[in-house]
Amino acid sequence: MKAAPALEAEHLFLSFGGVQAVRDVSLTVATGEVLAIIGQNGAGKSTFLNMCTGYLRPERGAIRIAGCSIVGLKPRAIARLGVARAFQHPQIFPQRCVIDHLRFASAAARPGFWNPFRPLNSPQSAQDVLQLLAFFALDKLADQPVRGIPEGARKLLDVAMALALEPKLILLDEPTSGVSSAEKLGLMTRLVHALRARGVSAIFVEHDMDVVARFADRVAVWVEGAIFRVGSPEDVLSDPEVKEHVL
């Protein structure tokens, strides 16, 4: 028997007031696949991610993570199923220092989180945390409160927290916006390499077509709340209609 795909979404609908934000969206992400989502602002990309992580509930349709239906589950329960998310606007704790974010995320993914006598910087996760810091070039900011660090570093920290959970599926909402273009490609190369090495499936929303062409296995093009095209980056990005709608 073939294993269930990492994510299946079938015929999703959602509207806000009178606006149809998501219309009949069906999308499948195979295990280990890296899927890019492109589309203009307001096309429903973030709304889709919000539905996949339980923040919004679709009015109709089904979402399955590794074969398990998640409609109606809370973000927390979905995170426990191995779905991690990074946000377009980084959701971090402004008064806390960088390294503690990763220690906390790392502890959250392991047993013993609730043990009050186990310190946050436990030796079990110390190695992983240092690796993540180095991976995202955050090691020099480790002891800084995140309130003061630049936007690019905040975005990376947000992604790093998602990775610290050791997820099976990771949803990244514009992971490299705010990162300088010089560093973008290098960072994405390492990130995607790390995802593939760990067999993590991924969806990432991206505006930079270079990045999409280079790193995605498949691309889904969103136009006005619906999926306009899905296919390999070469096919989709050379499609003149896609160019007209998105670029």
């Binding site: 606007h89 402004p94 959250a108 186990r118 310190p119 946050l120 070039a137 309130r147 936007e151 300088s180």
Partner: protein
């Protein structure tokens, strides 16, 4: 009109400076001086504790006051703990009163085992917190504050009515004669209670510090910053809060139990909002952390002694003014004053 909660956009995403700039700007690691201040803090703490232990010899007649300061500090510590999550409870008298009444009810059973009674007081506080917490930890902000107040007011009115059990408005006499099995005279008992209490403060303070450094303790503080992110990491913010609420209930109950043993009497006023006010003032005045509330309790006691002499009719006016001044000018309380001053002087120099 609109319902509660306005959309809060993510923190300022104006600063679009690049990664490289950031790396260049970062100062070199400041590990060494931090370790030095850590050592300084420990030695300061040991000195303070040694001084506290000597207090009954320095001023024997005031042993009772010192005990009360520790008791109120413990209960205020419970309020301060929740303050770390950005929540204020206006009803912690519930746990304080519960601890006291537990001692009053069980003292006839174990009259000479005061230590046991104190633990029971804390335990009952924790149990009441666990039950009330199941409901209360779902709420934040004004709801959390007011539901705590409402529950404590209900407990107060129930207590007044159930004369047969609680003695109604007369309260109950607490007859604890000893702490570990021996009956003691009043003076010896007062001293012994003080040292037991000081010991408990040290033990509980260390345990609490462990908790605050654990992932759950860190997550408690992160609730104030961004609760949704905690949920997205697969951790229940409500459960984090429930854990802290039960701990704070234990501290409240334990503090109430100590105070009841010291005073020898409990009254419904222990449940009244005026008692909650004391705990709020102690927590706000002292500031966050484990030491702050005890500092707050000591200041409160000094303030009340001074007020009893000069302003006996306007005690709450004074308390209100103190709260206003602290939240306006020393938001981190007295324990946080050095930080507040440092930040203020930094800003001053910049201007």
């Amino acid at each position: 009109m609109a319902a509660e909660g306005s959309p809060t956009e993510a923190e300022s995403h104006h600063e679009h400076s690049s990664m490289r700039n950031a790396l260049a700007e970062t100062a070199s690691p400041r590990q060494a001086p931090m370790r030095a201040t850590g050592k300084l803090r420990v030695s300061a703490l040991v000195t303070i504790l040694a001084f506290c232990a000597a207090l009954p010899f320095i001023s024997p007649p005031d042993t009772f006051e010192f005990t009360i300061v520790l008791a109120v500090g413990l209960a205020g510590l419970g309020v301060a703990l929740l303050l770390e999550a950005g929540l204020i409870s206006f009803g912690h008298a519930l746990f304080y009163g519960m601890g006291g009444y537990t001692v009053a009810a069980l003292a006839p059973v174990f009259p000479r085992f005061g230590i046991l009674l104190l633990l029971f007081g804390g335990g009952v506080g924790a149990i009441v917190a666990a039950i009330a917490g199941l409901f209360i930890v779902r709420y934040r902000g004004v709801f959390f504050a007011m539901l705590n107040l409402a529950i404590s007011m209900v407990a107060y009115s129930v207590l007044l009515k159930s004369y047969a059990i609680s003695g109604g408005s007369d309260g109950m006499v607490v007859q604890v004669q000893g702490l570990v099995g021996q009956a003691l005279g009043p003076g010896a008992f007062g001293r012994a209670l003080f040292y037991v209490c000081l010991g408990s403060v040290i033990v509980l303070g260390v345990l609490l510090q462990c908790y605050r450094r654990s992932p759950a303790g860190w997550g408690l503080g992160a609730i104030e910053d961004r609760e949704i992110r905690i949920e997205y990491l697969g951790v229940s913010a409500n459960r984090l809060l429930l854990q802290a609420y039960v701990i704070s209930g234990f501290l409240g109950g334990f503090g109430g139990a100590v105070a009841a043993s010291a005073v020898g009497h409990v009254a419904p006023d222990d449940f009244f909002w005026t008692t909650s006010t004391v705990l709020v003032v102690v927590a706000v005045l002292g500031g966050r952390g484990v030491v702050g509330p005890f500092l707050g309790a000591a200041l409160y006691e000094l303030l009340s002694i001074a007020a009893a002499r000069y302003l006996s009719n306007s005690w709450e006016i004074l308390l209100g003014a103190v709260i206003l001044l602290v939240i306006r000018f020393a938001r981190e309380g007295f324990a946080g004053l050095p930080d507040t001053w440092r930040a203020a002087s930094l800003q001053w120099r910049r201007q």
